[in-house]
């Protein structure tokens, strides 16, 4: 049985922890709002890009030589996995769910005899994946110093990916990130970025408008596709960021609640023990008086 003083100390320490988790939850909530706004603001560009890409690729279909970024290299021997995770922990299952998905994917590919290369974005994923896939990790990018994620950061990642692709280092690239569904639910997602995939819009499948291309379709497409890779990565990073703060917020919320429960329990046993001690003292006094 812990003494009264022990209980008192434990209550104080749990209270201090609760204060920290509460503050972290508040910070995460504020950052989540900003991250969500950023993700929302990036949507028009991505949508237009998708539309334009669908139009242009429909127009250039059957053209002489479609760029490799669109059609792929025709093989799927070497896979590049871009694993985007958070820089920090304390966000519930956020990092581990992305890593689990990436690891399962990598193991499946390896068992099929394919070559797997991994590019990690974010410290957490790098730390954990390095344990199992030390030889497979080709590069590591961290945004630790970055306060506000901007397109330049995504461009940096895209630059590395495209550089590898142009050297013929891989055939298929997939990015792993957590799609933001709501504050309490983030879904780890795998999305193929090379060869390009995009939703066929109605305009593209139906009677496409007769565009005049300046310069030619091929040249525009060549310009567009690398940019599309960057946009897809940017989108994934933004979603990931929002998901991270969402996960952190709910993790900190439940931590705060747990701390509250614990304080209640500890206070109850503290009070019970104090009462017992008072009763004990009273009995001692009374029996002492009776003995006289």
């Amino acid at each position: 049985m812990p003494s009264l003083k022990d209980l008192k100390n434990r209550i104080a320490s749990v209270k201090a922890t609760q204060k920290i988790t509460k503050a972290m939850k508040m910070v995460a909530a504020a950052k989540l709002r900003r991250a969500q706004e950023a993700a929302e603001a990036a949507r028009p560009y991505a949508e237009r890009m998708n539309k334009v890409l669908a139009n242009v690729s429909a127009a250039s279909e059957g053209g002489a030589e479609a760029p490799l970024l669109l059609t792929g290299t025709g093989r799927d021997q070497v896979h590049l996995l871009v694993v985007a995770t958070g820089e920090r922990g304390l966000a519930g299952g956020f990092n581990s769910s992305i890593i689990r998905l990436a690891r399962d994917h990598a193991l499946k590919l390896l068992s099929q005899g394919k070559t797997v290369k991994i590019l990690t974005v974010g410290r957490k994923g790098n730390d954990i994946l390095r344990r199992t896939f030390k030889e497979n990790i080709v590069d590591y990018i961290t945004f630790r110093e970055v306060k506000q994620l901007s397109f330049v950061n995504a461009d940096e990642v895209a630059g590395k990916v495209l550089h590898l692709f142009n050297k013929g280092e891989f055939d298929v690239a997939t990015i792993f990130y957590a799609r933001f569904q709501s504050v309490i639910s983030q879904v780890a997602t795998a999305q193929q970025i090379i060869p390009a995939t995009f939703e066929k819009t109605e305009a593209a499948t139906g009677a496409a408008v007769l565009y005049e291309y300046e310069p030619s379709e091929e040249e525009i497409l060549e310009d567009l596709l690398p940019r599309n890779v960057a946009v897809q990565i940017f989108r994934a990073l933004l979603e990931n960021n929002a998901s991270f703060y969402g996960a952190q917020m709910s993790a900190m919320d439940s931590a705060t609640r747990n701390a509250g429960d614990m304080i209640n329990r500890l206070t109850l046993s503290y009070n019970r023990q104090r009462q017992a001690q008072i009763t004990k003292e009273l009995i001692e006094i009374i029996s002492g008086a009776e003995a006289l």
Binding site: A38, A41, A42, P44, Y45, A46, R48, M49, K51, V52, N55, V56, S150, F151, A154, N166, V209, L210, Y211, E212, Y213, E214, P215, E219, I220, D223, L224, R227, A230, V231, F234
Partner: protein, 135 residues
């Protein structure tokens, strides 16, 4: 009075402009072009330069864009810029930083086709520097 049409200037980070305009001057790769209402559908890439937007009200606002492309339809025009800033917000330092970065990229690449493109980009940037920030 010329007809108004919808003009949108979008960067990956956000939607900068979405307005009714009468006239837009775009720095297309093959030369500047002015887009007005009922323009034939066209798609063009853009080099770094100044986009000048004439609003339906008559006032003109200017933006500096750094590459991208434009999607032109008879009913509207969408400009997807890699990066865009208001002309009044451009400073010599930020522009110089971009020029330096572009130069470094151009020197680093060995691929010829890519190098030519980067050099073109660099030239456009340097031109822009002289045009909007006269020494």
């Amino acid at each position: 009075m010329a007809d108004a049409f919808n003009f949108e200037l979008v960067s990956p980070e956000r939607l900068l402009v979405s307005e009714k305009v009468t006239e837009v001057v775009i720095p297309a790769t093959l030369g500047e072009m002015t887009v007005m209402a009922h323009h034939a559908p066209a798609m063009t890439t853009i080099k770094p330069g100044v986009v000048s937007v004439k609003l339906a009200g008559g006032e003109v606002t200017k933006y500096v864009v750094f590459g991208g492309f434009a999607d032109i339809l008879p009913t509207g025009c969408t400009l997807l810029a890699e990066s865009a800033v208001k002309l009044s917000d451009v400073t010599r330092e930020t522009l110089q930083a971009r020029i330096d970065a572009a130069r470094k990229d151009a020197e680093a690449t060995t691929d010829h086709g890519h190098k030519t493109k980067l050099e073109e980009y660099l030239a456009a940037l340097t031109n822009l520097n002289g045009a909007i920030l006269p020494a």
